[in-house]
Amino acid sequence: MSVHTTIDRGTPERQAAQMITLEIDGKSVTVSAGTSLMRAASLVGMDVPKLCATDSLEAFGSCRLCLVEIEGRRGTPASCTTPAEAGMKVTTQNAKLAKLRRGVMELYISDHPLDCLTCAANGDCELQDMAGVVGLRDVRYGYDGENHIHQEKDESNPYFTFDPSKCIVCSRCVRACEEVQGTFALTIDERGFASHVSPGMNEDFLDSECVSCGACVQACPTATLMEKSIIQHGTPERSVITTCAYCGVGCSFEAELQGNTVVRMTPNKDGKANHGHSCVKGRFAWGYATHKERITKPMIRAKITDPWREVSWEEAINHAASEFKRIQKKYGRGSVGGITSSRCTNEETFLVQKMIRAAFGNNNVDTCARVCHSPTGYGLKTTFGTSAGTQDFDSVDETDVMLVIGANPTDAHPVFASRMKKRLREGGKVIVIDPRKIDLVRTPHVEASYHLPLKPGTNVAMVNAIAHTILTEGLENKTFIAERVDTADFQIWADFIRGEQNSPENMAKVTGVPASEVRAAARLYAKGPNSAIYYGLGVTEHSQGSTMVIGMANLAMLTGNIGRRGVGVNPLRGQNNVQGACDMGSFPHELSGYRHVSEDGPRHLFEKDWGVTLDPEPGLRIPNMFDAAIDGTFLGLYVQGEDIAQSDPNTKHVQTALTAMECIVVQDLFLNETALYAHVFLPGSSFLEKDGTFTNAERRISRVRKAIPPMAGLADWEATMALSNALGYPMNYKHPSEIMDEIARLTPTFAGVSFDRIDELGSVQWPCNERAPEGTPIMHIGGFVRGKGKFELTEYVPTEERVGPRFPLILTTGRILSQYNVGAQTRRTENSTWHEEDVLEIHPHDAEDRGIRDGDRVAIMSRSGETSLHARISERMQPGVVYTTFHHPGSGANVVTTENSDWATGCPEYKVTAVEVRPTNRWSQWQEEYEDFKDIALRIGDPKVAAE
């Protein structure tokens, strides 16, 4: 039996000003103009039988099962394709319609295997349901005619099968791939009886364009497209609504279970971030949660070369607490600190920073957002007054021109990318500013109006050239500027930006992009009328990351593209809870809600609530923690759900720092790279095992709900609480909802948030308080959070990382669709089918110059270090630029990256490293040493036994 609670009304909802009243089976119903008869009927509880219709797709009208009669009209039109009209009188059920429908079903069933009882979809099959609904008892044609019953299954995709014998050629899959996902991987080949669904050019699914998003599987009414997990386990018994723990889109899912075994994750139709869509990660790559390498017992060891020893929670917690106390006694209060995780819940993150500030008594707390979106916080706070994106995702439906800068949404934020592509198919335009030819530049049904392939590290030069064009060509929005921004600041900025040094012609020398292209793109953005900026780590991870965020905010204000739907400045956040981790006071200088620790008012509020005195001086940021460790002043670290050893730049420097510390406590699902240097390991809980909330890139706070008990016995927040108690600062929360109540009490933008409120609304976007009890989808309407918008000067300053004779190429890094961040989760799933290893993408010219062939092992050297990877020759890169991902620890991408960083926030400059590449036939020295060290540092067991 299906466990879904949502009703399928057959065709999508229509929003129209005009309302229409009609009668269906004697019941009056009022609907928006454009609503189908099928949907209208469903709204009065009369579900018309259907097969080719589903409410996530536009009606198609092929199965003829949904026939109805309309008074005064001839024939029996399909209710899915017939729009409601005022005064219509519709009949959905009578003997004639029943007979017609039975006839339709008879044809379908005569060409369908009758193995319902043993079919994986038994009980969750619309064909079966409809046969029941129309009262089909017999098939007059028999089952022996020509049929498709013996066709072979395609099992190439690791997560779902395609069994053509069960296909009724309803086209739902084809339409889902086009309309929902926007990949166009499927077609219906041939005609009539021979017609069949075909991925690509009659390829199998794995070799086709398919990106394994699952939309077709979701749409398929039969067992033709079926999750392998359901075939293996059977249909689910219960479901829990929760939020994806991968990227910053924050898709809502139904976790479907049998007992305590997850058997499927189905995207939630009511989810406001994803509206029923998903990507391969959230939909399918959840197997890591029960992977055999998960550590479920606490462990300790005296030295990092000792084997781990499993101990009780009590012993591990007490050991950690006593070590932290010892270190503080010996080296001072500021000698310990902690790192919160963007993968953990808001409540867990809040608790970790609270423990550090209240129990450690210092502000040495930082978060992994340091290495990704910290410049977003700085830049948007400076210009607009708050550290967050301005829009909800739905806003893109009204965008005319998207300006995508340093982001690759189809890989990193796939569900939102599908929304973007939908808007592009409807007539929206896109400008891409990126060194690489990303998919939004050109793929089926997508073509960027302009691609400005700038040299890595020249974003600010580019944004200045665009602003220069807009201002000198008189394309600025004078009314907006007069009303909404600080005019004195604007004047200073305008004088600066008009300067010839910022002209596209002058900047072309820096960016490598012809001035005419930049001018044309600037005009398109300025003329909109609704233009929206979407950006990613290609903006932030630079020495001028914060300057660039300010530059984009300036651009939006200059053109008045802020404060309404369809516009704005929107960071695409990498990890699921980057926004939340920042909101929750994870930075060493800020309390929750972005209030500086030196501000007496907010600090006193926390001091009173927490019953402690707080340090008014900022604490150490992650890179400074490493420096201080090497200096001998920072020796104890608590790391929750974060893998700094793999994700932070200049690995050798990080390794030296970690080795210098006396107590590192790692709390994680797996023995990650940081755990190689740890002394205490606390087993973490996956998102399926705890209650809490995540906040996505659109500031949307969604519930994470406990679907199964924590495998290690404690959820992460419970472990932090135990540690705080052992340190002598009492915490006694009974449930994470109480932590959220405390957050709301102490954080003005969260004042109206509670678990009850979220349950009531489904999800809520902060600010949520007295002024906005239902939350705030669009920010800065009518005025900025800081009052008047602030233009700041954004002079282009070249990075110190320069190419030269020794290191003539620029290395830039990124991610791909199937893997996530350091890969700890996705590498432990079948997603590795698509990406077994990190490779170095190199342009054919650069490869030829160096005698490199596709697939060769190459050494990559920078002034930081050397690693080796296999090469992939690719024209996605421009000559002079090479590219890799950092999903596999042994690749050592960060051995090569340097400690250069953003001037304001210390966010590392991952996107620009000067390197040289040459063919090699061996691993780098770092890789060899790493493998040897890993073997030693990962041992679990009794020291004596392990030594034998």
Binding site: P588, P618, L620, R621, A628, E795
Partner: protein, 66 residues
């Protein structure tokens, strides 16, 4: 890092630029970084550009660094 901070404020009138860069250091640097900088300044502040030198001197007085 101090040089880069100073670079951001460089185009402003000098007084504002020094104040801006100094405020940034005060707000974002941990006390021990300020102490380290104060020591560096005491030895002449080698390598700092003129604006960074002034800003760091304002933000990293040994007294505020403790």
């Amino acid at each position: 890092m101090a040089n880069q901070i100073a670079d951001f404020f460089r185009l402003k009138p000098e007084e504002q630029a020094v104040a801006g860069a100094a405020d940034h250091i005060k707000k974002f640097w941990d006390p021990r970084m300020k102490v380290k900088m104060a020591a560096h300044l005491a030895h002449g502040g080698d390598g700092l550009n003129p604006l960074a030198l002034k800003a760091a001197t304002l933000a990293c007085k040994p007294a505020t660094g403790q």
